[in-house]
Assembly symmetry: C2
Homo-oligomer: 256 residues x 2
């Protein structure tokens, strides 16, 4: 605490979204928050993508530290009067750390200022790489049943498949979870044509980026992994060249 010149006055915790990959996909506000922070804490994978912002900073890089511990540590430091940035890939506000930070702040009676700095989530970056799949109503469903009962996930898949939502599937598959995407596809096939266009984006904007446009019938033939997001088109979505397009009008009111 030697450089802490405001005694016990609580500090600030910025929860910063770095977007899909390199710092080029961060916003100006996010970059500014990192620059203002004395300490940067985050999962090593994400910190490694933004080395230019770690110079001259105290860096707490957690390879194995659990998310809960990372949040607790970040709040502790901010409560002591420091300015600290908790770095998250994507958008901290979409399936990510923002909620955990507030839940823990509430439970630990934290007094620091907390600011959520949004970033590009997988839906933003993957949609851009695929073309224009999210031009109409859409849903995001995570297939991870670690914290959500599988029955509820199935209910949600049924609901959005039936109501013709474009659907972004988060956490489609991991080494251990291989059957959830099989079941999700079955559910969609009850309501949509096997020809329904499906886009798969792995590691958007990164060196190992892979983009596949396929359909429901052949979905399982494509490589899907931990870094993949799957976007299932609605009944109007079509493929043109290597682009996935969901037209925004269902009617003909909109003459091009």
């Amino acid at each position: 605490m030697e450089k802490c010149n405001n005694g016990n006055r609580p500090g600030t915790l910025y929860v910063v979204g770095t977007g899909p990959g390199s710092a080029d996909y961060m916003t100006v506000v996010a970059i500014s928050a990192l620059k203002k922070s004395e300490i940067i804490i985050g999962y090593k994978t994400y910190l490694d993508l933004i080395p230019e912002f770690l110079l001259d900073k105290e860096v707490i890089s957690s390879e194995m530290m659990k998310e809960v511990d990372r949040c607790r540590k970040a709040l502790e430091i901010a409560n002591q009067g420091k300015t600290i940035a908790l770095v998250c890939g994507g958008d901290p506000g979409i399936y990510a750390m923002a909620g955990l930070v507030f839940e823990m702040a509430q439970k630990t009676k934290s007094s620091c200022t907390i600011e959520i700095i949004p970033g590009l989530a997988a839906i933003n970056s993957c949609a851009a790489r695929l073309g224009a799949p999210l031009m109409h109503d859409f849903a995001a469903v995570s297939l991870s049943d670690l914290l959500t009962p599988w029955a509820l996930i199935e209910k949600r898949l049924e609901a959005v498949a039936m109501a013709d939502f474009v659907t972004a599937i988060y956490n489609p598959k991991s080494k251990k979870r291989t059957q959830q995407i099989v079941r999700a596809r079955e559910i969609f096939l009850k309501h949509r044509s096997p020809e329904t266009v499906v886009g798969i984006v792995t590691a958007a904007t990164r060196e190992n980026e892979k983009i596949t446009i396929t359909n429901l019938l052949n979905l399982l033939d494509s490589e899907i992994g931990m870094q993949s997001t799957v976007i299932i088109g609605n009944s109007q979505t079509y493929k043109w060249n290597d682009i996935m397009i969901t037209p925004r009008g269902y009617s003909e009111k909109y003459a091009i």
Copy 2:
């Protein structure tokens, strides 16, 4: 075409998302695309938010030009060999211009390169301002029935209300469309408690920003306008201080 030194070789159209407001919420990639462009075209309201990027550029500011005409113009210019940026508020890939650009490129047999540069959409920026409402599965539904039959919109609202999705309502209300939000609330009340937390964000990050956290019961008492996004929590969402939090676990597996 006097400065066009590549003859008839097709140019590039960047479709650039500027996020919720000022240039501070743009990504580095988006700023770079504007700097590389000889010509900037966009709706006046959005261009007025980023004056620093219009200096020394040819600017085509369309107050009244329809979106279709704006896209056609942008493609024409890019096809002539120029580098042009079509500026969109929010994320061009979410309910915005990306789809129209590709649809028109297809119909006009355009040969230019088209690159979608994602930006922060309303769901990203509004979620950040409300706290952490999108920590679990969510849906986005537009209440505008200009291009979508109202029956389909109702079907979608029913589906996501029933399946306990956090739901972001786009285009909740305009001067002429005042009853759609009334009906949407009725549908949600069939499936969720009147106490369900609802956040309303108007003009996120702009000077006239307004943030309200209310509930389904009182939703219609709050001001909702053309620049508002309404986020309806799921059955687990709660309010703490002035923060809207959707916990990410439905189970107790996740001890904090």
